[in-house]
Point group: C2
Chain length 460, copies 2
């Protein structure tokens, strides 16, 4: 058992500040823990006593006649040192401090934070936070993201872990992932990182069996050296992808107002990412696109990709994006071109991008995809489908993907620009065949680019 497991798999939780009073974080936490999937024990602790949602309220954690794995703090900052001492006596192993009012507020807060950390260390308690949204564990329903449920959705279980230095942005990402049907294993907003920092969490997620990809929004690492060492180690086990904010001069200034991090030079971070095998994203959509691809598809064994499309224009856009990002459009072998020519209509383009024309049925996709994937010059495939076409039966395409993705040793990425119908079948293909399908050629190319980068790290 890992030391940090108490944060993610507690058998019992004390909610310090647990309450029924509307509008309080203490209430939101109690609701999340009692109404959701979480099945461990939950003990509200509040000096006011009484009951909360029918549960007895303990005036002190010491009164609870049970072992407590995790204490979640939602009380004013100044009251925390005292309660932390009590947690120590009680034998608590993990403290998640949601409360703000610490180092992010200035010198006095910094001293208070140091004091809390000191007490916790004395007792062997690890801290996540303070000043954070905390944890969402899709596996067991542990959820401290206290935004109202009519404003904040949470994603389904999946294999992407998400670490966010920004709580608010992290919450928006959770909400977004839910609506995009992107599965997450664990989400952590770690706030000031007074004790457990991003490197500890990356290390933890590195050994977490439920996590296949670690995605990261970061403004500045707590310790550069530790970050470098951990990334170097963990990226050999599973992909890490990072969006580093504070890229420009004004961005760096904004970071210092926000989390007080030393943003560090973006060039230095870029170099660290490259050196340690961390895949870089420069926007939220790029982060999402790449994380999903790394979660669902295999790495590519080279930089040469092929494109199969029923629309020439989308094929050109994907070609431009690929070449702009330093990927190569594979020059198909003579054999492949001949095989394509034999069975595709005369107007089809057998050069890469392979344009199988607007009247292509699913069977033509199947033939083109299989033929192109057999070519040893091709390391990965983007399949663009304009599902608006009367000729293209989307259900049949789901079957084609199921069959081909299962057999293929090369990564396959889909792209289905459009609206409701296209979106519906994009999802179906993802679920049935494990092929991520993107709305735009650019995102599909981000996706395959991440798999190429991953391949360069692992396949050598």
């Amino acid at each position: 058992m890992h030391e940090l497991d108490s944060f993610f798999y507690p058998r019992s939780i004390a909610v310090i500040g647990g309450s029924e009073r509307p509008g309080t974080i203490g209430r939101a936490l109690m609701e999340n823990l009692l109404k959701g999937k979480y099945r461990g024990k939950v003990y509200p602790v509040n000096i006011k006593g009484g009951t909360v949602f029918g549960l007895k309220v303990y005036k002190s954690i010491k009164e609870i006649d049970d072992e407590i794995d995790l204490a979640i703090f939602a009380i004013p900052a100044k009251a925390i040192p005292h309660v932390m001492e009590e947690c120590g006596s009680k034998g608590v192993r993990a403290a998640l401090i949601i409360s703000a009012g610490f180092s992010e507020t200035g010198e006095e807060g910094r001293r208070l934070e140091a004091k809390v950390v000191e007490i916790a260390r004395k007792h062997g308690i690890r801290i996540i936070g303070p000043n954070c949204l905390g944890i969402y564990n899709a596996e067991n329903g542990l959820d401290t993201i206290f935004n109202p449920s009519d404003r904040q959705d949470k994603p389904k279980m999946g294999s992407i872990a998400f670490l966010s230095q920004s709580g608010a942005l992290g919450a928006a990402i959770l909400d977004w992932a839910a609506v995009e049907d992107i599965g997450m294993s664990k989400f952590i907003s770690y706030g000031n990182a007074a004790d457990v920092d991003e490197s500890d969490l990356i290390e933890y997620l590195g050994q977490d069996e439920k996590t296949k990809v670690i995605a990261l929004y970061i403004e500045g690492a707590k310790s550069g050296r530790k970050f470098l060492e951990v990334c170097n180690k963990v990226s050999k086990l599973k992909p890490i992808i990072a969006l580093k904010a504070g890229k420009t001069e004004r961005g760096v200034m904004a970071v210092s107002s926000h989390t007080g991090s030393l943003a560090g030079s973006y060039q230095i971070y870029s170099a660290v990412f490259k050196q340690t095998g961390v895949i870089k994203a420069e926007s939220l959509r790029e982060l999402f696109a790449k994380a999903k691809a790394l979660a669902l598809q295999k790495p590519a064994k080279g930089r040469s990709i092929a494109i199969v499309t029923n629309g020439g224009g989308a094929g050109v856009l994907a070609t431009d994006a690929s070449e702009s990002m330093g990927l190569k459009l594979a020059t198909l072998s003579k054999d492949t071109v001949e095989k394509l020519r034999r069975n595709l209509p005369p107007m089809a383009s057998t050069r890469n991008p392979v344009d199988i024309l607007g009247d292509a049925p699913a069977s033509r996709y199947e033939y083109a995809m299989e033929t192109v994937l057999e070519d040893s010059r091709v390391h990965g495939l983007i399949v663009i489908m304009l599902f608006q076409s009367p000729a293209l039966d989307a259900e049949e395409m789901v079957k084609v993907f199921k069959k081909i993705a299962k057999e293929s040793e090369k990564p396959i990425i889909g792209c289905a620009p459009g609206g409701r119908h296209a979106g519906k079948y994009a999802r179906k293909i993802e679920v049935a065949a494990g092929v991520p399908v993107y709305k735009t050629p650019l995102e599909a190319v981000y996706a395959i680019h991440a798999l190429v980068e991953r391949g360069e790290l692992t396949e050598k």
Copy 2:
């Protein structure tokens, strides 16, 4: 009346190849024209005779006892010269040729296309197409986009006109615009541009009262000089925004396989765009983001923008994107900073980006937005809202935007990352206040960048 009005506002249409046979384009066209909003007369013409959806079928257009404004062709290419002659005798003014099998197929097709154009010119008939999806006019329901309605949605009426050299991609964009609730005035897939080309259409849309913004997917202009002249003229009247495909060497090759256009050097196109005031987009999302901003908001009178946010992380991302694109984060005046400091919580950042903190209610947004917009150093405002926050009443924010956007002479752009709730209120703000609200900081910055570029063209 403009010569091309017959294509967009015909009082009567002959559907050459109109049919009831399932799976035919002739049937899809008849369905679109009869079942939709279009109220003009529709005459099916088919050598097979009989009836189509209860309408008498004419064996020749010459038999129709009515004037015909527009003839839509969905018959084999080879049959078109003969029917075009008949259209000439009948006094038809506009011919929309959906049919493929012309210059895109090689030398024989080129000759056929030239012959059809020759006949049409002899009779004073203008042609759109061949080898295209044709026209969607949201105003009167004229719709020749023949994809099945369960696979292809069409957008509501709006003020963006969209021109696409690629039919399939254009259809996907229509479908996408529908689901994103982006309104369009007119859509034209113009195919081979045998007669009416992109420049003619830009000129037409330039004088079209329903169109405020012209958006363009282009692989290569039919005539570079004409394109330059028309863009130069029309961009003074309304914004033109273009996504030029064929940017890289392989992209240029792909273009030549696709539409046979000489893609021309991307550098030359970029220079032409700059010289003629055409705003450039490099991806579909950028095109959408910019077109929507140009349709809804006013140009900015300078490059200095301000950001107001309830989430520091999203503010940093917007700052990075702004500076990366060459915008400036305004240095707020001493007065503005003092005014902000007076009424914002002590922890708020009164530097730009103005971080009004996670507990900001709508009233705090109102104060910060008004204060920042009053600063003469600020030329445009991005408002980031993390609507997941328990403190932020989204209905109140709609009111704030309605009030402020009405009074402001500076452009305002919204950004609301997240899922269902955030998306719902993004739409509400767009509809109620005319402020476009984007899902990501990057798209919000694309949007304001387009307004800055537009301002540099018009405000000097």
